[in-house]
Amino acid sequence: MMSKPERRGLHRYVPRLLLAVPFLVVLWVPSYNRIEPQLGGIPFFYWYQLAWILLGAVFVLIVYAIERRLGREP
């Protein structure tokens, strides 16, 4: 194993960079301010953001799983 629980320093925060993804996606408004493609009659603007609620949770879960495996921060 590369990582040890007692390992210190900034690199133990590297998995958390994944959490920047929801910020970039959500704050880049022009990327989703459109009607097409629709999903079951729902414009893109709405279903895309609703989908990102779930994807955002997945990102948090992934980081949680990685950090659990690497060991807890002190």
Binding site: P30, I35, L54, E73
Partner: protein, 506 residues
């Protein structure tokens, strides 16, 4: 009056009243200790914390106001969705650490934490007062949510008799909060959240089926409301407003005292981490609730003469209650309205407890009665929780509702000013306490000024940068200024502070 709906509504209300009092015996402990009464003994596991935080953050006012905003303003009102997407990464990154420090040091409030980290009574006072002042109008708005559904059940509105159901509901709330503390809203939240989930799932299945599917619903929405207006000329227009409202609201949320209380009552930092992923179930429900605004548009409830009096009394806040009345069987209207009314009780209880904790710990014990015993402390908090609720009722009955809405808007701008002391307290303790205090004061003043230029009707301020107008959430702009000042003044004040100490020693 709608008899079936009212009967169901009252029955469910009685059920949670009983639960509220029974909660005192749940996980039995000495409720004469503040951390037992006001934090549930810090023993709530993943599931209870999920219900408690969900019940706490997704308030009755949210359920009424978010779809009302979408109903009235269209796509811009949907910013609540990106906002709730962003709160969870923030919760995950910052708050388990805060939980750990508060747990180890026995802190009950954010102001306790700041007092300890920076050894500054004045900074702690600023944090406590900001928390209380920002939360009071929020409690008052929970009453607005409750008033709308009570009105929709057909109770006579206006006058002393019209306010009676609301007063009774709040007396009940005050009584069980006093006896059971945080255990009461934690237990009631389980009922509240279940009812909300059932109502929303029914709504997103039954109502579109009646209206001809989601395609037909969105087709009924005027084109200019459906997406944000693209920027034109020298202004970033709706884009920057939408993004900054989402980010600013997300940064502010967990600084509210009631959110902090919910987090600190968890039994471990891991409970907080897990909930950072699991709580998004509520965000999804909130997103569906936002769409109810369009369903109300498509159903044309605002043009139905049956609901004209409701809309004239409550404005677009009546959109969702009218939609439910038009779409559901009377018994299920009772369930749905009970969900909203009970949805007001849970946050109102937690908010009043959080204010009581702040007042007792950081004003009463710190400045008025430093030597008070633990039992005195808990008794004081219980009394303050009553005072806070009476204040909220008087506020909503005696003043125009617009004041509560404007104050809540200002509350968001004020509460975000606690971000530098709390965030820097977690990661950069070398920052100067006086610099933080000056940053806080400038942030409050600048944010309030920005809202004042919009006549307190909007919190979006058109900031001009190099000839480009960037309309954005005043809270975010003012907290940036707050951060800059705290960081820039730290070396200056550290230096003069050392000189002062040196000359005093001489």
């Amino acid at each position: 009056m709608n008899v079936t709906a009212t009967t169901i509504f009252v029955a469910l209300f009685l059920l949670v009243t009983c639960l509220g009092f029974v909660a005192a015996r749940w996980r039995k402990a000495d409720l004469n200790l503040l951390h037992e009464w006001g934090l549930g003994g810090r023993r709530f596991g993943t599931v209870v914390t999920w219900f408690l935080l969900g019940g706490d953050l997704y308030t009755a006012y949210t359920f009424i106001a978010v779809p009302a905003l979408v109903f009235g303003k269209g796509a811009m009102g949907f910013f609540a969705v990106p906002y709730t997407i962003l709160i969870y990464p923030i919760l995950y990154m910052v708050f388990p650490r805060l939980w750990a420090i508060c747990h180890a040091r026995g802190h009950v409030t954010a102001a306790d934490f700041v007092r300890d980290r920076f050894d500054s009574r004045m900074l702690a006072l600023a944090v406590a007062v900001t928390g209380i002042v920002a939360t009071m109008p929020y409690i008052a708005l929970q009453l607005v949510g409750m008033e709308v559904v009570i009105g929709a059940l057909g109770f006579p509105s206006g006058g002393w008799i019209g306010h009676l159901p609301l007063i009774i509901a709040f007396l009940i709330l005050a009584a069980f909060t006093y006896t059971s503390g945080l255990r009461a809203p934690a237990l009631i939240a389980i009922v509240k959240d279940t009812l909300i989930f059932v109502t929303v799932i029914a709504a997103v299945i039954v109502i579109p089926a009646k209206l001809g599917g989601y395609g037909a619903i969105f087709a009924a929405v005027p084109k200019e409301k459906l997406i944000l207006a693209p920027p034109s000329g020298d202004s970033l227009g709706a884009y920057s407003a939408y993004a900054t409202l989402a980010l600013g609201s997300a940064l502010a949320l967990f600084l509210y005292p009631h959110a902090m209380t919910g987090i600190l009552s968890a039994s471990s930092g891991d409970v907080v981490r897990r909930n950072a992923a699991l709580l998004s179930a509520y965000s999804f429900v909130l997103g569906l609730i936002a769409l109810l605004g369009y369903m109300a548009l498509a159903a044309g409830v605002d043009k139905d003469p049956a609901y004209a009096s409701g809309f004239s009394a409550y404005g677009s806040n009546f959109a969702v209650p009218a939609l439910f009345l038009a779409s559901f069987q009377p018994w299920f209207v009772g369930v749905a309205f009970a969900a909203i009314a009970i949805g007001a009780l849970v946050p109102a209880a937690i908010m009043s407890i959080a204010c009581a904790n702040l007042f007792t710990r950081n004003l009463y014990k710190e400045f008025l009665r430093p030597g008070c015993t633990e039992a005195e402390e808990a008794r004081m908090a219980k009394i303050v929780s009553l005072v806070v609720k009476v204040g909220a009722v008087v506020f909503i009955l005696a003043l125009p509702q617009a004041y509560a809405i404007q104050l809540q808007l200002l509350g968001g701008i004020w509460i975000i000013q606690l971000l530098p002391p709390i965030l820097l307290g977690l990661y950069m303790r070398s920052i100067n306490a006086s610099a933080l205090l000056i940053g806080w004061a400038v942030g409050i003043a600048a944010g309030t000024y920005m809202a004042a230029t919009q006549s307190f009707a909007s919190s979006v301020y058109p900031l001009g940068v190099l000839g480009v107008t960037i309309p954005g959430y005043a809270a975010l702009y003012s907290v940036l200024l707050n951060f800059l000042i705290a960081v820039a003044l730290t070396p200056v004040l550290d230096l003069t502070g050392r000189r002062g100490a040196a000359s005093a020693a001489r």
